[in-house]
Structure formats: C-alpha cells, structure tokens
C-alpha cells in the first residue's frame, strides 16, 4: 500500500507492506536511523518521535496510521545550520547520555514533556519520563538536562 506523510518538513511517500510500523518506515524506507528500536513492545521509548506535535512511540503505530500526519524525528528537531535544539544542547551540557541509544527517544519525549509541563519539578520530570528506559545514566543527569533544556526553551 502507499503511504504519504510529512517528515521533518518534507513530503514523503512509499509503497509498504500494510504491517509496516512507523519506525520501520522511518528507518528502512527513509533511512532516518536516528530513531531506534529498543524493545518492539512499546516499553522502552527509544523509538519516540513527534506525530502532529505529540510524542508517540513509533514502534506502536503503523505507518499507515501516520498517513497525512506531520512527523518530526530526532534528525529534524534542530532548526538546521548546525545549532542544536536547546534540549539537545542541555543533554550535552549535563552529560545526559552515554551510549546514545535511548537518547533520541529521550530527547523527543523531553521536548514533549516541556510543552505539557513548562516548569516541571524534578519529581514531575521523573514521572513523565517513566515511558523511556535508559540503562546507562541512572537518570540523574537526564533530569538535570531536562530542567536546563526546559529553561532554555522558554516554555516553548
């Protein structure tokens, strides 16, 4: 079947098997390999992307379901020109990543978190990141990064 959608500002389309997941469409058809698959059961959050402005686990959504949607992946988060998005920069500043595998999903979830909770406390950040597993950092520096990222996003 044919699906088309907007990904990182560009209109894309492809012929896919109906059971193709959104994450497979992004990784295998569009070669946007920044979105990772950690568990294929919607538990780990490594595959988190934005669909129509909301954080979605792209392993739990069919590509067909995203037809016509506006999708943003980690590759499209920054505004181009080499500048990192404030949340990406905050993760770097606070050493909020180690192996980097959960990081794209974590950053996408964090940006969504800030939209819903612009002045989140540590406790709220920890609760809201419950759907994203990191095995490396112990979350301490991720929480610091999200706070800084939120401040630098100015509530955006």
């Amino acid at each position: 079947m044919n699906v088309s959608m907007t990904v990182n500002g560009e209109t894309v389309s492809g012929d896919v098997d109906p059971r193709t997941l959104l994450v497979e469409f992004l990784r295998d058809h569009l070669e946007l390999t920044g979105t990772h698959v950690g568990c294929d059961t919607g538990q780990c959050g490594a595959c988190t992307v934005h669909v129509d402005g909301r954080a979605v686990k792209s392993c739990s959504m069919l590509a067909a379901q995203a037809g016509g949607a506006d999708v943003t992946t980690i590759e499209g988060l920054a505004n181009g020109g080499g500048e990192l998005h404030p949340m990406q920069a905050a993760f770097r500043e606070h050493h909020g990543l180690q192996c980097g595998f959960c990081t794209p999903g974590m950053v996408m979830a964090a940006v969504d978190l800030v939209k819903n909770f612009p002045n989140a406390s540590d406790e709220t950040i920890r609760e809201q990141l419950e759907g994203n597993i990191c095995r490396c950092t112990g979350y301490e520096n991720i929480v610091r990064a999200v706070k800084t990222g939120a401040a630098n996003m100015g509530g955006r």
Binding site: G38, F101, G138
Partner: protein
C-alpha cells in the same frame, strides 16, 4: 567548541555527543549492505528436549526463503563449538567440565531460546513467517533451573556426560587455618544469601551484519561487541576455522554492553558462515524477547557465609560456600566469574587474616550466565558487607565503628590479602568519613524519629567495598586459567599537518573514550583537543585489542596510549635536537614545545610532525621518517578502586514500599581524567545496583524451565521515578603502578550499592524483628518480612 577546558582533570564535554544527539550515530542495525538478506533464528520453546528430527522442507518452499540451516549443516561443514576462554581447575586437580556448545543445537536443546535453526530470506518477515513452517520433533525432558537443585543427585542431566550437572568444585584459601579461627571465635555471624539472577538489558538489542567477498576471499562482520578483536580471534580460530587475517570484525557505535556484549555469540558465527553459503550479506537484529532469552545473564549465586569475630569485634576468619549457575553452556568468561573474580575479593577492605571459599558451579536449563557489570565482585561485596552489617547488628557495635576496627590501615599498603590479591594503595577511613559527612549520619536519628511520627520506618545502610579492576596482568591471569592475555594495544599517529589519530583496542559503548582519550593525548602532545580523533572498534584499523570490560579501558588501554605517547615524544626530541642543532640532552619538552634549554630556540609538536613526513632537514641516518608509534601495555597488578556507599531508606509498613531518600557514594578511583564522565559512570552503576537490590529478578519456572520474566512487562527495569538523586564524591589515592595513576570507575556503583540498600531496609525494620531480606526487596517481600516478624514475635 575549544574554548572549554579540555586538560586532564577537566569536565570536557563529549566529542561523541554531537552525532548521538542528532540521530547520526551508526549502530549495527543502522548498517545496510547492498544485496542484504535477513536471518531469523528459530529458538527452542522448551527448556530441555531431545531433537528427534527437523523437517525444513516446507520452510524452504516459503516465499523469499534462500536457505534454512540446522546444527547438522554446521557439523557437516566442520564448524566447531563456541569456546570458553577460562579454564578452572577443580579441587581434585581436574579441568572443569567443558561440554560442547554448538552454535545451532545438535541432538538436544538445553534452554528456552537455544538456537535450533536459522532461516534466511529476502525480508525479515519472510524469514520469521517461514520459521513457523520448520517442523521440529521434540521429546520433552525434565528441566533443572536452580544451581542448588541441579547439583542434587538424580536430577535431569543438562549434558549427558556431566554427572550431577557439576562443572567444577573450586576452592581458594586455607581451610584448616580458617576452621581454627572459627574454633577460637567469640562470635560467629552466619547468613544464607541469594544473589538474584539479572538480565543485563542494554537498550540496543544485539545485532549483526555479515558479508563475504568472493573476489577477496574475505569476511566482514559488523556486530554489537565490546571487543571486536576477541570476537575475530574466537570465531576464526575456534568456531569457523577461518584465517584470522581474512576476517574483519567491526563494532561500530554500540548501545550499551554492561558485560553482555563481551561474549562470542552463536548468531555472529552462524551469520558469518552463512553469508558465504548464500552469497549475500545477512543481517540479524534481536527482538527484545530474544535478548531476554539469549543474552548471557548475570549473578545467580546461592551462598552460605560465616564470619568469625573475637571479643573486640576483630574479624578472625571467613568461610563461604557458594553454588553458582553457569546456565546451559559455558559462555566466553563464565567460569572465571564466580571464582577468580569472586573469591579473591572476599577480604574486602578488611584485615581478616584467613578466608576459605568453595564454589560449586552447576549447569542448568537456563541461558548461559556470564559477566554482568561487576562480574563476581558485586557477589563478593554482597557476601562480605552483609556479613559485616549482620555482625554489627548482632554484637551491638556501630557499623561504621566495626568497619574502622577492621579496615586495612592506609600505612599498611602494599597489602597482601589471604585470597591472592596484593592491594597497592587506598585510604578506606577517608572515603567512609567523607561519605558519613555527606550523608549526614549525625542527623539520621532525628530523621528516623520524624519519620516514625509519620508512621514510616527509616534505616541507614553501609557498604564499604573494594574491587579488582584493570584486568589484568597476563602472567597472573594465565596462571589462574585464562586462555588469553589481558594487555591492551594503542597507537598514536601524527599526520604531516600536526593532526592526530589515536587508535585504541579499548571499545567505547557509552564510556566516552573519544573524549577522555583525546584529553590525554591532546594534553600530552600539547595539540588542540579538536585536532585529536580516537578510533576504536574495527579490526582493520586497529592493530589489536582486548576490549572493554572489568573497568580496564583507562587503566590498561589508556596506559598503552601513554606508552605510545612516550615513544612519540622521545622520537620528537631526537628530531628537535637535530633541527635545533643541539644535543638531545639539552632539549626540554613541555606542553607541545621542544626547547633548547635556556634559549628561545624551540619547535612545536606540529612542526616536528611536518619535518618527520617531509624529512629534508632530518637525521635520516639515525631515525626513520614518520611519526606514528604504537605500544602494548600489560599491567603489573590489578587496580583496586574502593569506596563507601551509604543508603537511607524510608519503608511504608502498610505497603512494604521502600523509598530511597538519600544515597551517598564516595569513591577512590585514583586520578580522574574527566570528572563529568566519572560521575556519569557512578550514576549508571548505582542505578544497576539499586535495580538489583529493589527491582530486578530473572525468574525461570522451576518445573517447566520457562522464562517467566521475558519482557519489560515482567522484568522490572529501573525507571526515572524508581531512583533517587545521588550524592557522589571522591577521595582519591593514585594507583601506584600505571602511568596515569588511574584505577577505573565503571563498575563501582553496581558493586558497592546492593548491600547498602538491603542493610538500610533491615536497619529500618530491625525494631520490628526483621533480620534478613533477599534481593530484590520488592514491596511484597518487605511486607511479608514485616508480617512474619510480627507473627513470630506474637508467638
């Protein structure tokens, strides 16, 4: 970017973060090769069964299928078994039992997830669909899953020729002297402990892409490995019988390892072999359920331990009897974990004069068990620190005071323990004192009373751990049964323009070597940090390497780079002497500048590099052109990071829920190159240690051998809201025997923290009569312990 301080000791931001944060990392599953097809591994649904036949006829006819291979196909082609890299010698002087470990099962399957066949098809879904058409005739057999049960006579045999499922019985220490110490004891503390089985769960699932070039008769394997050269050696020399120089193994960006990606796995060998058979590159990426079933697991000990004390609380002796689970087959380093990496650590930070440990290793119908963050040392620390805490409670001595009575004093180093290790340096009182200050131990009693008024129970738990890292002096490892050397290789290549490429046999899968190693090289050569690039993870680019595990990268891999840097500077000095028309003895070197002493005549590292490649004014009769030096470094001793962890918990007696309200870790890692990265390593280790203590437990059904905790719905991974904010500090004493004075920090958190957490819970509930709780201390277990204690007090 280079305005930041990147000197040694500075918290330089990481070079690798740029690609990871923008989705431009390159992990194994991101790699697609032209013409690539996909593999799906058919795995055993049974814990233990005889295979009476496999019919692949229908599967071979399924759409897109290129091939289906079974164990017989590999055997007919002379493919060998997966080797074990460490031979343990039994108490009777016999080598351990080492049954064959075929990459695809032959005759029997021995655990749920054991590899039965591989299906190769144009797409992954076609391979997976075709797997359902493979008809395997299984004859079910009884299964054994716990090491204690497996060793009982009359149980099902995992390997028909291994009686009582016993891989080995091994011992360390002086039994007679230890028994004498117990005979003289004023007090003996006795504990029965379970070290819960864990599943490492790196968030990147294991994956591999293999290809064969007929034109060059050359294989390439991309794989999720912590040590690509080790994989190449094991696979080519022992499994596939390929010429080592005709095999390239690449471990690109790797998404976490924690030990589980050290080992040579069946999928790597099968894909490499099959890529030639089908004439196409083949890719395989584990689904998470496959990771749960088939990654090597960790821990899984059952232990009886005893500590003898005199009337003053001095430790007189320790006796430990451990049953360790090997799983169904011996994984790459499985045999060394509950022996060499375990019993040697039982002295801890203490002067215990005599120790005896016996370890019985059992085969079971479970996934292979091997090194997981800490590997043997967390198990040892759990035994020692639980004993010390129980002894303090039983004798009514303050746990910090009891420790101080028994610490090896800082004046006593180097210190020979009764269990083979020679500690070079440390100051255990300093880390404990600092941890107690940060944890505000003085204010604890007031906090306990305040919590009591709210109906909550507060407790304080201690752990003062030691670990042996920087694996390892090759001669010592060899004498203890290692079948490999444990040095590291490094190379520093200056280019004509003064830019630098560094090649290391260490592998980074989160540890930040591209940054830390660049800090070392840039500082030593006096060149800009941004001009240094660190290359790792490719057997075609790096001469050799033993890889990253056992907190060895900086202590061993970093030391190899220091040796190579010394060679670069020595050669540069000779070049400078020639160019500046001075004697070599008169050349002073400091921070990238070679100067004739007492003059303003000088050359920079970059100028010398240019001259080395454009040798017009150059001592050609004495020196070769070029500036590219390599070195191997074999350590002369282990390193001994140590520290104090203090955990404060609050327990809700109505629900059994444990909340960590305060966690303090003060460690001695020797010199620190990048404190930001070190702190991150500590955080991550603590999360895994606290995960073990409170949340994580791998469960196999005792009867069926089915893996009960096979998804993230059943196996409790620590999430952000499960963990506290950590307070960390350091009190460092530099290592005395490596050029950087470093010890290693990757495993400390996972080693030190579990007994501190459990001790805090027992301390919180001790007024209720609770004296013991097993890991993980789930709400159900804590609630049960409270109610059992209540019931026994009422009786």
């Amino acid at each position: 970017m280079s305005e930041q301080d990147t000197s040694i000791g500075a918290p330089a931001k990481r070079k690798e973060d740029g690609r990871f944060l923008t989705g431009r990392g390159r992990y194994t599953d991101d790699i697609d090769l032209h013409g690539q097809v996909y593999a799906y591994f058919l795995r055993s649904p049974h814990a233990h069964a005889r295979i009476n036949g496999i019919d692949t006829t229908q599967a071979l006819q399924a759409p897109g299928v290129l091939a289906v291979f079974t164990g017989n196909d590999l055997a007919e082609d002379g493919v060998g078994g997966l080797p074990c890299g460490w031979q343990i010698t039994d108490v009777n002087g016999e080598p351990m039992k080492e049954p064959p470990h075929p990459p695809l099962a032959q005759g029997k399957v021995r655990y749920v997830g054991d590899h039965v066949a591989v299906i190769i098809a144009e797409t992954y879904y076609q391979a997976k669909d075709a797997a359902e058409l493979v008809d395997v005739d299984y004859e079910m057999l009884d299964a054994v899953v716990s090491p204690a049960a497996a060793l009982e006579p009359g149980k099902a045999l995992v390997h028909d020729d291994v009686p009582n499922n016993q891989c080995y019985v091994w011992e360390l220490g002086d039994k007679a002297a230890t028994d004498d110490a117990f005979a003289k004891a004023a007090h003996v503390t006795r504990l029965d402990l379970v070290n819960n089985r864990l599943i490492p769960n790196a968030i990147e699932p294991r994956a591999a892409v293999a290809s064969y070039s007929q034109g060059e008769d050359h294989y390439t394997l991309y794989t999720t490995s912590q040590n690509p050269h080790v994989i190449r050696l094991l696979m080519s020399a022992f499994v596939l019988n390929l010429p080592e120089h005709k095999v390239r193994v690449v471990a690109p960006d790797v998404g976490g390892g924690f030990g589980s990606k050290i080992f040579h796995y069946a999928e790597e060998a099968v894909l490499t072999w099959a890529s030639r058979k089908v004439g196409r590159p083949i890719k395989w990426t584990a689904e998470r359920m496959e990771s749960f079933m088939s990654d090597a697991h960790g821990r899984d000990h059952v232990t009886h331990a005893e500590l003898a004390l005199d009337e003053n609380g001095k430790f007189l002796g320790m006796r430990v009897d451990t049953k360790a689970n090997m799983g169904a087959y011996l994984s790459t380093f499985a045999s060394s974990v509950p022996t060499i990496l375990y019993a040697t650590l039982l002295a801890g930070q203490y002067t215990t004069p005599t120790i005896y440990c016996q370890v019985s290793a059992a085969f079971t119908n479970t996934a292979p068990v091997d090194a997981y963050r800490g590997a043997g040392r967390p198990e040892a620390t759990y035994v020692v620190e639980r004993l010390v805490n129980a002894a303090a409670r039983e004798t009514g001595v303050d746990p910090a005071d009891l420790r101080r009575r028994n610490f090896i004093p800082k004046e006593a180093f180097p210190y020979q323990t009764p269990v083979a290790l020679n500690y070079d340096v440390g100051d255990y009182d300093a880390t404990l004192t600092e941890a107690m200050r940060i944890a505000d131990v003085d204010g604890f009693e007031a906090r306990r009373q305040e919590a009591q008024q709210r109906g909550k129970y507060r407790g304080l738990g201690y752990s003062t751990y030691i670990e042996a890292c920087g694996l390892a002096p090759s001669n010592i490892a060899g004498a203890l049964g290692a079948r490999a050397g444990l040095y590291e290789a490094g190379e520093v290549r200056l280019h004509p323009t003064g830019k630098v490429t560094v090649f290391t046999g260490s592998h980074s899968h989160g540890q930040g070597h591209e940054t830390t190693f660049a800090q070392i090289v840039a500082s030593r050569l006096g060149v800009p940090f941004d001009d240094v690039e660190v290359v790792h993870g490719d057997t075609d680019r790096i001469a050799f390497g033993m890889g990253t595990y056992g907190s060895r990268s900086l202590a061993v891999g970093g030391s190899a780079l220091m040796k190579a840097l010394d060679k670069v500077i020595d050669k540069s000095r000779k070049i400078a002497a020639h160019m500046l028309e001075a004697s070599e003895a008169d050349i002073e070197y400091d921070n990238g500048v070679f100067r004739v002493a007492g003059t303003d005549k000088s050359l920079t590292t970059a100028e010398i590099a240019f001259s080395a490649y454009v040798p017009h004014n150059y001592p050609l009769e004495q020196l070769e052109p070029g500036l590219d030096e390599s070195a191997f470094y074999d350590p002369t001793n282990f390193t001994y990071p140590a520290g104090s962890h203090i955990c404060e918990v609050e327990v809700d007696p109505d629900t059994g829920k444990v909340r960590i309200v305060n966690f303090t870790a003060v460690d001695d890692f020797g010199n620190v190159i990048n404190p930001m990265i070190v702190e991150g390593q500590v955080h991550g280790g603590l999360a895994q240690g606290i995960g073990q203590a409170l949340l994580e437990r791998c469960v196999y059904d005792a009867d069926s051998g089915q893996l009960v905790t096979g998804t993230y719905m059943d196996y409790t991974m620590p999430r952000a809201d499960d963990l506290p904010s950590f307070k960390v500090g350091t009190k460092n004493t530099p290592c005395t025997h490596n050029p950087l004075g470093v010890k290693g920090c990757g495993e400390a958190g996972a080693i030190g923290s579990p007994p501190a957490v459990i001790d805090a819970i027992i301390d919180a509930l001790s007024s209720l009569g609770v004296t013991h709780i097993d890991m993980p201390a789930t709400p159900a277990r804590v609630w049960e312990a409270i109610h059992k204690a209540n019931a026994s007090r009422a009786a």
